[in-house]
Symmetry: C2
Subunit: 198 residues, 2 copies
Amino acid sequence: MTAAQTAASAAAERILRAAIEVFAESGYGGSSTREITKRLDMSATAIYPHYASKEELLYAIALDGHRSLLQALKVADANANADGADHTTRLKAVVAVFTSWQAENRKQARVVQYELHGLTPSHYRAIGALRRQTMGFMAGIITAGVAADEFHVDCVDDVVVAISSLCVDVCRWFPSRQHNSPHKLGAVYADIAERMVR
Amino acid sequence: MTAAQTAASAAAERILRAAIEVFAESGYGGSSTREITKRLDMSATAIYPHYASKEELLYAIALDGHRSLLQALKVADANANADGADHTTRLKAVVAVFTSWQAENRKQARVVQYELHGLTPSHYRAIGALRRQTMGFMAGIITAGVAADEFHVDCVDDVVVAISSLCVDVCRWFPSRQHNSPHKLGAVYADIAERMVR
């Protein structure tokens, strides 16, 4: 990367972070790119070299969020696997990270989960493909656990949806009076997910 | 009720239903009361005798949604109790109805769950009180099950949040390729909730 490219990439990242704040506060439909640039003390047109429209910005937020979560789950599983863990340990490690990711990145997660209706059909399909990858990744662990007679479930897909729901919904309510540590909540939800499959 | 009151109440109900559609499609922030009256072929000012502002309309939707859900849960439990059911049967009946309510009323549920930031602080507190009632109702069943040695959980409040998350998140994704029957999904989620407590 040249110095100019690095600077452009840093600006794009700053715009993306500001857009998450604005969309999370006012909703995607109630926000304008002008509010985003204003927050960054940029001119109204400074956004366009990086994102051609408000929708492109929403798409970039959704792509970044889905990729970052999927990557975090894969790293958690790889770390568990490196220790030669059983499938229960793998599942718990992945659920703990899924949960804490939603807690830590709750503003981005809310935009990602609740504002997808703002995407163009082709962008929506691209995000749908990433979501299916994430679900498939979770399904792989549960299927392996069932095959090893470690897990006992009626329907793998139902359990995947249920565990994902449990984790995703964290972005809606976190923090609460009872929970303000993403890490501790991750441990609690890992135990609950274990109950769902054993 | 006089005939005039009945007509006013029917108009208020029609406006509320149209507002749910509009808010669910464009987000609360991205919607105007004008879009709502337009959809009903009403004049732009016809809304005000019923709802003084867009925020009043959001509050009415949230009140109606929370009250209707809580009432449905209470009826499900009363029916199970009338049969002298054990706590597992009670919990399953309540979770099944919680789930199917979210599936059937998913547009209203999304507005209720995702757009609460649009409420004034005093309206937000009123809705918060209703939410705590709903959580308290679920906690009552689980606490009774623990006391009867039917349920074994580490922390009642954590399980209540987890089961509520499982059910609430249905409004985000329902229907899917796999599930398009609110009733069948309710039965699946009742079984999953049972696993969380036994």
